[in-house]
């Protein structure tokens, strides 16, 4: 259960090796979180992530942290229901962090239909599928928070990486709508819109202005869990910046080097 001061006791991460997700889990096990379920493609990376969380739990010294891993593949849509049932098996899950996604090569995504579709399959279709299965489980337990990692890239899709941006725009719209749909069910949705985050997904890319670290995004997520906020920008200054960008007339926007 999430307590009166907004501290969850359990979390499920979809995309269990994500840097942002792991930073979030590390922050939470220092509080009340004692059950962590990491769902992701099995293998050494998922096991390493589980080890990292166990170590963080031991360091925090609050109490023994149970870490479980569950096999999850965003592209295997037909398995999502069973994966979520397995993840929720035996205990309530207070927070589900939907953190998986791929950042495609922009040029190839713009020209290779299969590659573009694969990006959309993971980032949008897979997320909607797993997110819907999650919402069903959260509703049944009458409480919980679904945190969806969106991106500023979805706020106004820019030509430099429009395929990625369009998947995040779709995901963002779905998550926002789901949050409104779930009003009164005890389930809350938080849409997180980070800017450029220095993670393994963005490794090798030039750092964009207003970038942040996984730890900064994690801190914003922890705050949004404690205080009911439907949308979180990281950093917060991105909100007015993106609001300006969104309202720029198309001819002006098209001429910007974005």
């Amino acid at each position: 259960m999430i307590d009166a001061l907004g501290h969850p006791q359990s979390i499920l991460v979809l995309g269990g090796t994500s840097d942002i997700a792991l930073a979030t889990v590390q922050a939470l096990v220092a509080g009340r979180t004692r059950l962590v379920v990491l769902a992701g493609r099995g293998g050494p990376r998922l096991d390493q992530a589980a080890e990292r969380v166990r170590a963080a739990g031991a360091d925090a010294g609050g109490g023994p942290v149970v870490v479980r891993t569950v096999e999850f593949d965003a592209e295997e849509l037909a398995t999502h229901r069973d994966v979520l049932d397995a993840a929720f098996d035996g205990a309530d899950i207070d927070v589900v962090l939907l953190a998986f996604g791929v950042l495609p090569d922009p040029e190839r995504a713009a020209t290779d239909p299969e590659y573009a579709a694969a990006t959309a399959l993971v980032n949008y279709v897979g997320a909607v599928s797993a997110g819907t299965a999650t919402a069903v489980r959260l509703r049944a337990q009458g409480h919980g928070i679904l945190v969806v990692l969106s991106s500023v890239a979805g706020e106004r899709v820019r030509r430099s990486n429009f395929v990625y941006g369009s998947t995040k725009a779709g995901l963002d719209g779905w998550a926002s709508g789901l949050g409104e749909y779930l009003a009164g069910t005890g389930v809350r949705v938080v849409v997180v819109r980070p800017g450029f985050v220095t993670t393994k997904m963005t490794a090798g890319l030039p750092k964009a202005p207003l970038s942040s670290t996984p730890e900064q995004v994690a801190a914003a997520i922890v705050t949004a869990i404690a205080r009911p906020r439907p949308v979180v920008w990281v950093p917060a200054t991105l909100r007015p910046v993106m609001s300006l960008l969104r309202h720029l007339p198309r001819p002006v926007f098209a001429r910007l080097p974005l």
Binding site: M1, I2, D3, A4, L5, H7, Q9, G31, R32, G62, G63, D92, R139, A140, Q141, G142, H143, G184, T185, G186, V187, R227
Partner: protein
């Protein structure tokens, strides 16, 4: 969507309000299957929702509202023995009984609690040091168990283990459907009150320790916003029910009249931070000044003495959207230092709390989860969004546990579950009885899940 009185951590449940014990039985036996809630989410009983935290919530499951089972079944006017259904409120009892010259044996700071809730949380009042908690005045209770059978329990003899596991058992042993309890005779519906003001915590604690047993009722209000040399200053009020001859002549003809009114209703939506450090400090200053340094034998209204906040309907909304937590701990008399330390830390943290009370508890009862034990108890409310509150209270919990003290579950909404066995050393004893009564854990609650009770 349900919350406790502190308006934090809302969760969703299906709510049914049975009119009869038979309907209640149907609801309990069908919990999770036909009557509502998701399978396996169990059932929670709720009265008037005055527990501050999540004790009367059941996310995804069934919540049974017991307030329609509220009949007064029998009153023996010779002995003052009352038989009442568990959904009846103390407010209702007082309105009916005071004109007849009877009063409830124990009342908490609000009269809007049900008899069942009072037993489930084993409530205490200003008379704990002489009268104990409510279940010590209960002679018999009927408990609807998870199997659908109604058991009659007594404090002694067969069934006494179940009786005491239910006292303070947070509704997890079954549903109390009715209780037989002792009332106390009173001559009037007024109070005779002595007031003393103390300039700091040591003076206040000294005053409280002095001649406490000479008074039936005794409690101290603490100005939790005062700092420096004035830390822990407060007002001690002690008294008893007024006798007829204590009343001024003009009041005597209506000596037992009792018709408390709600004076105002708090707005449902309060703009953030109506209660801030400045406004609460000003309120506390005025409240402190309002009281005389020392006065004896004043006649006060019964509601003003016991239930001052009940005059403001929905006062819990003044903390605004984030809600608030109520923190109450008890420590042995030998650990008075822990009380000083807590008052210091809470005042220093600048927590805007306008209702902090300090009291001396008397003897404990046999209930393994019953909260009161001999020593000091401090209770105060704090807005949930005070920065650093989680850490501060966690630290205080540790100190309370180290001092051999406890935290009151009826008010809790944020305790670290790992500490529970230290705060309730007889927890396993209670669990054994609970598991006997409810092996499937049909009775559960958000609090039970959060603390892994």
């Amino acid at each position: 969507m349900l919350t406790g009185w502190g308006r934090t951590a809302p969760t969703r449940a299906d709510v049914v309000a049975p009119d009869t014990v038979e309907q209640l039985r149907t609801a309990v036996c069908g919990a999770g299957h036909t009557t509502g809630g998701s399978p396996g989410r169990g059932v929670t009983v709720r009265g008037l929702g005055r527990s501050y935290g999540d004790a009367a919530q059941n996310a995804g499951g069934l919540v049974v509202d017991l307030t329609r089972l509220d009949r007064l079944l029998d009153l023996d006017v010779e002995t003052g023995m009352l038989t009442v259904e568990a959904g009846a409120s103390l407010d209702q009892l007082m309105r009916r009984l005071l004109p007849a010259g009877w009063f409830v044996p124990v009342t908490p700071g609000t009269r809007y609690v049900t008899v069942g809730g009072a037993i489930g949380t084993d409530i205490h009042g200003k008379n704990h040091h002489v009268a104990g908690s409510i279940t010590e005045h209960v002679h018999e209770m009927e408990l609807l168990t998870a199997h659908g059978e109604v058991r009659t329990l007594h404090p002694e003899g067969p069934g006494s283990e179940e009786f005491w596991a239910t006292a303070g058992g947070m509704g997890l042993t079954g549903v109390v459907t009715r209780a037989r309890l002792d009332l106390i005779p009173v001559a009037t519906s007024w109070m005779r009150v002595d007031t003393d003001r103390a300039g700091d915590l040591d003076a206040l604690m000294a005053l409280l320790s002095e001649r406490d047993e000479e008074y039936r009722y005794s409690v101290a209000w603490i100005d939790a916003t005062a700092t420096g040399a004035r830390t822990g200053r407060g007002v001690l009020t002690r008294g008893d029910h007024a006798r007829l001859e204590d009343l001024p002549v003009r009041l005597r003809p209506r000596a037992r009249e009792y018709a408390p009114r709600t004076l105002v209703t708090a707005p449902r939506r309060v703009p953030g931070h109506l209660l801030n450090r400045v406004s609460v400090r000003a309120f506390n200053e005025a409240w402190y000044r309002r009281h005389p340094a020392h006065r004896v034998g004043e006649i006060h209204g019964l509601s003003a003495f016991f239930h001052p906040l009940d005059a403001v309907a929905g006062w819990n909304s003044v903390y605004g959207q984030p809600g608030f937590v109520q923190y109450q701990f008890a420590v042995p008399f030998a650990a008075a230092e822990t009380v000083r330390d807590a008052v210091n830390q809470l005042s220093m943290a600048g927590t805007p709390s306008f209702l902090a009370v300090l009291k001396r508890f008397g003897a404990a009862n046999p209930g393994p989860l019953s909260f009161p034990r001999p020593g000091w108890t401090l209770a105060l409310d704090i807005p949930a969004d005070v920065p650093g509150l989680a850490r501060l209270l966690d630290r205080l919990d540790e100190q309370v546990a180290a001092a051999g003290g406890s935290i009151y579950l009826a008010k809790d909404s944020r305790l670290r579950p790992e500490l529970l066995p230290a705060l309730y050393p007889r927890l396993d004893e209670w669990r054994t009885v609970r598991d006997r009564l409810d092996p499937q854990r049909v009775f559960t609650s958000d609090l039970a899940r959060r603390l892994a009770l």
